[in-house]
């Protein structure tokens, strides 16, 4: 009895994930149960969010809706937090560009450092042929 009950509790109802498009779109949607995973990868037992979301995704996919229309529908229902990748618009642009702004600022800092501390090598006298030959010989025997 206990084993049978446990087996029933283990039931996950994975049907929607058989559809590759459900998995693909589900990977772009955040599971809002608190697990921190996507709708596709949420592994919680009878998750109150990801399981209905997968069913809804399957229904939309079967109805022939495009990816962007499905995502827009989820955003309408749950707000922008449903998207694991914030759309590149409005304040979110700062989120997308800031890492590259930081790299640019870093490059400026490196350029400044080079300008400030760069001292070209002092030009010494040209070595004569004998010296060059000796250096070559020593380099040959150098470990």
């Amino acid at each position: 009895m206990l084993v049978a009950a446990a087996a029933l509790m283990l039931g996950q109802g994975g049907t929607p994930l058989e559809n590759p498009r459900v998995r693909q779109i589900g990977d772009q949607l955040a599971c809002l149960c608190g697990c921190g995973s996507s709708v596709t990868s949420c592994n919680m037992l009878h998750c109150h969010f990801s399981e209905p979301a997968r069913q809804k995704l399957l229904t939309m996919v079967n109805a022939g809706m495009g990816d962007s229309a499905i995502l827009a529908s989820f955003v309408k229902d749950y707000g922008p937090q449903i998207l694991l990748k914030p759309p590149a618009e409005g304040f979110n642009l700062l989120g997308w560009f800031m890492p590259f702004i930081a790299i640019a600022a870093g490059l400026v800092a490196v350029w400044w450092f080079i300008q400030r501390f760069h001292k070209p090598l002092a030009a010494g006298p040209e070595p004569d042929a004998a010296t060059l030959a000796r250096v070559e010989r020593e380099l040959e025997t150098l470990e």
């Binding site: 283990l10 994975g14 608190g34 037992l45 470990e143």
Partner: protein, 671 residues
């Protein structure tokens, strides 16, 4: 017994305050007896924290559920290993673990350095004990692990506990947190030496030489912790991912990146006397990121499956962090005269420049991760709108940065110090570059169209080739002179300069890991509901679900599927993925079945039975090349250990000016 732990914590707190005062006054007023007293207080703090930890461990192992912590994180059915691991499985216990590790580090630092660095040590001790004191405040007053349930005062008895989170009941999870904590806590030591050096206005960089090995050991622990966490996620979470850009994962990665930058830029200071301010910033920044990571995990500011319960503890961390940052910034600005660079860049095309770019990219990576982790909080504060930032965002930003870092791993070591001639560049790079381009063309012609994968494989070949050439040239010269073979020549070469060639091995480990990362571009997966006896097809594999079995253990009920796989018609060993249901916590976990091979892993998760109970839900994945991540890690670990072995020939950095010639030179002298 319950009082023993609490009293030990209070005494340790008092002693840490005493150690701070005694070391600062002793160092300032030059009172050796006070300095000696502070050193003894450090040892006593360690002894008291060991006693407190032993008390908690005993309560966990013996199942003394009168302790609120034991009742919340252990139960009688748990195996002994996980009862022990419950020490760091919850908020209060893990903070005690933090404190105990720090006291171990502090005791070892004081014991091994008290005579070598008499001037600086009082302030090193004080810095260590300030951090210790903060964590003891947490242990004793904010998150005390020795709180008792009101047994006899309303509660008659506590027969059993809740048990450890089932996801944590996995062997790698018993090792992963201690490794990570050894890393987090260990970065306090280089920070303490840096602060000691600033306070005492030491013009030299003795602290750098002293702490280099500490930094490397700590970095190694941090690396182990991160990779063990990744391998745990791969084997336990059931979807085959090893890195999900979770805020807590990110928090562990941030100090690793800044510490990696420090391990590179420190060479500039050792060899050229440059980047002194920058190294101070990196050491301090790494320590602050460790504290920040601890704050992130425990404050509830970001949601994470790894995080501890939300609590008010975050405010304490913010306060501590603010005070430490303010103090460090003041010290650095006040001591800028002692941190002046001793040399100048002679050429933009040089090892020095490559280190600067390496630092830039490592810190850009750290910033991007920090930014992505905190952006939901920033966005909500600015716009009032909640957003999520997940793997698609981080992958988009971090893959190009990672590839550029891989490129620098290849080119950096081949630039000479001071300047690199065009002829040298051509000699060093023409064949590796040609090989990389040829590989990219061949892979493209073979049908590979993923741009990132093409770049990653090509760069991996480029970097591996440059490393191989470095070993080959040196080994050949030694083998020719000593009359031995190339392998023995390579061993001798490495022994002569363990730091340099160990570093190359670390780089090679990174290359192997990137091969594993690149393989993820070709993952295959399927999720199918099948009746017993039916087949699933995935790539070259055919999977027959032969049976589904159930059973019961003390700690959990289980249900497993017997899968008979075959590859291209050839039968393979049976696989039995399992689904567990932990009784105490009422939580399910997956125990996936993995067939690991160098070319690909076959990964099967049994997600349970269908709603009607007639069909097994099987998730099957093929992960090409993923094993190279773990192999690369082993190579990286080996390289790091080699770096820690003293070289047979010790390089001595001589920074001298010779009249009429260029300044700065490096001489290598026989020991």
């Amino acid at each position: 017994m319950e009082n023993l732990g609490a009293i030990a914590l209070l005494l340790a707190f008092c002693l840490s305050v005493f150690a701070i005062l005694a070391s600062v006054i002793g160092g300032w007023k030059r009172k050796p007896f006070l300095v000696a007293a502070s050193e003894r207080a450090v040892y006593a703090t360690w002894a008291l924290l060991t006693a407190a930890s032993a008390t908690l461990i005993w309560a966990l192992l013996s199942g003394d559920f009168r302790f609120a912590y034991v009742a919340a994180h252990s139960n009688t059915a748990m195996p002994t290993l996980y009862k022990f691991a419950a020490w760091w499985g919850g908020q209060e216990g893990s903070l005690l673990f933090w404190s105990w590790l720090l006291s171990c580090y502090a005791a070892v630092v004081v014991l091994t350095n008290r005579r070598r660095h008499r001037a600086i040590m009082p302030y090193v001790t004080a810095t260590l004990m300030v951090t210790q004191c903060f964590f003891l405040v947490m242990n004793a007053f904010v998150a005390n692990p020795f709180q008792m349930l009101a047994v006899g005062r309303g509660i008659t008895s506590v027969p059993d506990g809740q048990g450890l989170n089932p996801l944590l009941q996995y062997p790698a999870m018993a090792i992963h947190p201690p490794m990570l904590y050894l890393g987090y806590v260990g970065f306090t030591v280089p920070f303490a030496f840096a602060i000691g050096s600033l306070i005492t206005r030491q013009p030299g960089d003795r602290w750098i030489h002293t702490t280099r090995r500490w930094s490397l050991v700590t970095w190694m622990f941090q690396t182990c912790g991160i990779i063990l966490g990744a391998s745990w996620a791969y084997a336990v979470l059931g979807w085959g991912g090893y890195w999900g850009w979770d805020p807590v994962e990110n928090a562990s990665f941030l100090p690793w990146l800044s510490a990696t930058a420090f391990l590179h830029s420190v060479m500039m200071q050792e060899k050229k006397g440059m980047m002194k301010v920058w190294n101070m910033v990196l050491v301090s920044g790494t320590f602050f990121l460790c504290i920040f990571g601890t704050f992130l995990t425990r404050s509830g500011i970001v949601s994470s499956v790894h995080a501890f319960a939300q609590s008010s503890i975050g405010r304490w961390f913010v306060g501590f962090l603010a005070i430490m940052i303010a103090g460090t910034v003041y010290l650095i600005l006040d001591r800028l005269d002692y941190l002046k660079t001793e040399a100048r860049l002679e050429s933009v095309v040089s090892r020095e420049s490559s280190f600067m770019f390496n630092n830039l990219i490592l810190l850009a990576a750290a910033f991007a991760i920090l930014w992505g982790t905190l952006f939901p909080v920033i966005s909500e504060a600015a716009t009032g709108e909640k957003i999520s930032v997940g793997p698609p965002f981080f992958n988009r930003i971090m893959i190009p940065i990672g590839l550029f870092l891989l490129f620098l791993t290849g080119v950096g070591p081949l630039f000479a110090w001071r300047r690199t001639s065009l002829d040298s560049l051509r000699r060093n790079f023409q064949w590796p570059l040609a090989g990389a381009v040829a590989l990219a063309i061949a892979l493209f012609a073979g049908g590979m169209r993923n741009a990132y994968a093409l770049m990653a494989f090509s760069l991996c070949l480029f970097v591996a080739w440059t490393i191989f050439v470095e070993f080959f040239r040196g080994s050949r010269a030694i083998a020719a002179k000593a009359g031995t073979n190339l392998a023995l020549g390579a061993v001798e070469l490495t022994r002569r300069n363990t730091r340099r060639y160990g570093g190359y091995i670390v780089h090679f480990g990174i290359v192997l890991m990137f091969i594993g990362f690149a393989g993820s571009a070709f993952n295959k997966d399927t999720t199918t509901e099948v009746k017993i006896g039916d087949h699933i097809s995935l790539g070259h594999y055919d999977l027959r679900v032969a049976d589904v079995r159930q059973g019961d253990k003390d700690n959990y009920s289980w249900s497993s599927a017997l899968i008979e796989p075959s590859r291209d018609g050839k039968a393979l060993a049976a696989m039995t993925p399992e689904r567990r249901f932990y009784k105490a916590s009422q939580q399910p976990t997956s125990d996936v079945a993995i067939r690991r091979r160098p070319n690909e892993d076959l990964y099967i998760n049994f997600a349970g039975m269908s709603d009607d109970g007639q069909r097994a839900v099987i998730q099957a994945f093929v992960f090409p090349l993923v094993s190279w991540i773990w192999i690369g890690f082993a190579v990286l670990l080996g390289g790091t250990l080699i770096c820690l072995i003293p070289s047979k020939i010790r390089p001595v950095q001589v920074r001298v000016k010779i009249v009429g010639m260029v300044e700065s030179d490096v001489a290598t002298v026989e020991k």
